[in-house]
């Protein structure tokens, strides 16, 4: 098992006035609620927390991209990755450049190649479409999201691997000269990860390319379905999926006892699930963002994750978050891993409004009480 520490860089200072509001913490929540002075201190703290993952023995750290939201303060994940390079030794996973949202995919090819060369080949490149709300952020036609994603991906990988200059004439991008400098250090290119909430289309795509598929925010039932679909798709493409091709990302919090962990995590999970993730369905899934194969099921459901009040005990019960003592968390990950066959676990140890002290204590408990037991001998980092 490989372990990664994921950080969302949430904005924790929304007042009660915003908590429980019917609308959203995305797009329409005024940026006047962001205090740049407190923001400065937050970034300092959050960067220290990312470095802590690396220091205590995680295989790597994960950063990601979101826009116009209190959910996360990383609209530019490559910037955060650059800051982390001199402060870390392990992998840096940019879990999701939202390549459909970029005006120009070659900018991503260039930035990731820069990071890879500067870091000495420690970069993992995640590709995502961006969530639905972000098609409002950039006023980008959501019906073109998948098409742009696939073409941007193809262009980036080709830009990394095919001797330039060459011509690209696609539906969305038409370029006379593709010839980016620098090229990545890792050959043929940095590992690609595909984070998703479990859409069948994305699972199939990741399996076809043999990319690591990372399931985020889901219950165990969805996790099982997605991994099964991945293995079946791999079989259709004539290979057997390795555990390192399957990853699970979930909020995780540890304390000395299960009871203490639940008590301490509760307000911050509440802030994550019931304030930061709050989003009306039509914002979460704009027209055409989902295929017609999945849209009626998702949009016809009685309630989605971003709506109404999520019951925390229920979320924990269903596996949306792992909360407990080191022994409990170790057993859960071990049991799920042997049952579901994944080889990568990304702990979202910072979530909601969690304070630094609780974060650090939880991460150290994870590093001491979970990682060594689940990492095979000889698989440890130097």
């Amino acid at each position: 098992m490989q372990f990664f520490g994921f950080h969302l860089m949430p904005y924790p200072y929304l007042t009660d006035e915003h908590r429980g509001r019917p609308d959203s913490s995305w797009i329409t929540l005024s940026n006047q609620n962001f205090d740049p002075r407190r923001g400065h201190e937050l970034y300092q703290r959050y960067l220290r927390e990312l470095v802590l993952y690396d220091e205590v023995g995680f295989d790597g750290v994960c950063v990601n991209e979101h826009h116009q939201t209190a959910y996360g303060l990383m609209p530019a994940p490559d910037v955060v990755a650059a800051v982390l390079i001199p402060q870390t030794r392990g992998k840096i996973a940019v879990l999701g450049n939202a390549i459909s949202l970029r005006d120009h995919p070659l900018r991503v090819a260039e930035e990731i190649a820069m990071l890879d060369v500067i870091s000495g080949g420690r970069i993992i490149s995640g590709f995502v479409r961006g969530i639905g709300a972000e098609y409002q952020t950039f006023q980008l036609d959501p019906t073109q999201s998948r098409g742009r994603f696939h073409e941007a991906h193809d262009l980036i990988v080709e830009a990394w691997t095919r001797p330039g200059p060459f011509e690209w004439y696609g539906r969305h991008f038409k370029l006379r000269y593709v010839n980016p400098w620098p090229r990545p250090l890792q050959q043929p290119h940095p590992p690609v990860w595909s984070p998703s909430q479990g859409s069948a289309e994305t699972v199939g795509w990741a399996a076809r390319h043999r990319y690591t598929y990372l399931q985020t925010y889901s219950d165990i039932a969805t996790l099982r379905r997605a991994f099964t679909e991945y293995r079946e798709a791999a079989g259709r493409h004539g290979y057997t999926a390795a555990p390192a091709q399957l990853g699970w990302a979930a909020p995780v919090y540890l304390a000395d006892t299960d009871e203490q962990a639940r008590r301490e995590a509760a307000p911050h999970l509440d802030y994550l699930f019931n304030t930061l993730l709050r989003m009306p369905r039509d914002m979460f899934f704009p027209p055409g963002y989902l295929t017609m194969a999945s849209a009626p099921r998702v949009l016809g459901a009685k309630r989605g994750l971003g709506e109404g009040q999520n019951d925390l005990a229920d979320l924990i019960e269903r596996g949306y978050a792992l909360v407990g003592s080191p022994a409990t968390i170790r057993q859960q990950i071990e049991q799920y891993a042997s049952e579901l066959g994944f080889g990568i676990f990304c702990g979202i140890c910072q979530f909601g409004s969690l304070g630094h002290e609780e974060f650090e204590r939880s991460v150290r408990l994870f590093a001491d009480g979970v990682i060594p037991a689940l990492r095979p001998a000889g698989d440890g980092r130097a």
Binding site: P142, T143, G300
Partner: protein
């Protein structure tokens, strides 16, 4: 223009009142569903983005004098996707091909909302094909007034904002809340929303280049607007009147964004008066 291919096979289903024919029609490889009724001079109606494919009762009020043609746009309702149609301007060329296909040299051209935008665009390309132009709550132009973002609204919220009178509003809201209970209807709603987004996501439901072309649309034009339109306030009617060369504006009282649906009597009277003039 002589090389369009067509197939007029398909079901001929009778709908309400005016004995409505339903058939499939293929224009340059794009298959659409066409409803038609009546006899007389051709009247082509281009529907709004929220239209779920029903023959609107008010159309029957025109079928006594006209042959009324009412297609589902490519990508909407029971029509196939129009693969490369990614703007209203492109869609207008599709409809010029359709006129050729039907052998219609000249039509009364009407449209509501998105369909109004489409009608106005078509009238700038081949003005001689349009004897009269009728725009009801037409999208397509922008004013400084900020308008609601229909793509952020749920079906029920959109229904509330679309209509004005209590009865129409609550009926539409109730239908919208039950949308997911009828799989066929729900799928049409989702497809229509997606097709509308593809045509009008950015810029938001208008074409910044259209105003510079509107002087070419020389047909007599009726601008029909709901006095209480909250999706596209009546100020837009006045802007259309400034941009188009020969307009007559009729504002319908006690109507929101769809005056033809909400006040069909007054709206039809306005159309009859307009078409009776010469």
């Amino acid at each position: 223009m002589a090389t369009t291919r067509s197939s007029m096979t398909g079901t001929e289903a009778s709908q309400t009142a005016a004995r409505v024919a339903e058939r499939d029609l293929t224009v340059h490889e794009t298959r659409i569903r066409m409803l038609s009724a009546g006899a007389g001079d051709p009247f082509l109606y281009l529907h709004d983005s929220g239209d779920l494919g029903r023959w609107a009762p008010w159309l029957s009020g025109l079928a006594g004098r006209y042959t009324v043609w009412r297609p589902d746009h490519p990508g909407f309702n029971a029509s196939a996707d129009g693969a490369d149609i990614d703007s209203v301007h492109e869609l207008a060329f599709f409809y010029l091909d359709l006129l050729d296909e039907l052998g219609l040299d000249r039509v009364i051209l009407a449209g509501a909302g998105l369909g109004g935008w489409l009608a106005a665009d078509l009238a700038t390309i081949e003005p001689e094909r349009v004897s009269r132009l009728i725009l009801a709550g037409a999208r397509g132009i922008r004013t400084d007034e900020r308008v609601p973002d229909i793509f952020l609204l749920s079906a029920a919220e959109l229904a509330e904002l679309t209509y004005h009178t209590d009865g129409a509003r609550s009926a539409a809201r109730e239908q919208a809340e039950q949308l997911a209970d009828d799989p066929g209807r729900f799928e049409r709603y989702l497809r229509n929303r997606s097709a509308t987004a593809h045509l009008g996501w950015n810029p938001y439901l208008h074409d910044p280049k259209l105003p510079r072309r509107l002087h070419r649309a020389t047909a007599p034009t009726l601008i029909l607007w709901g006095a209480q339109d909250r999706l596209l306030p009546v100020r837009h009617a006045r802007r259309w009147a400034e941009l188009l060369p020969r307009t007559h504006v009729t504002v319908i009282n006690d109507a929101g964004h769809l005056p033809l649906a909400e006040q069909p009597g007054a709206s039809l009277q306005a159309i009859r008066n307009f078409c009776g003039e010469s």
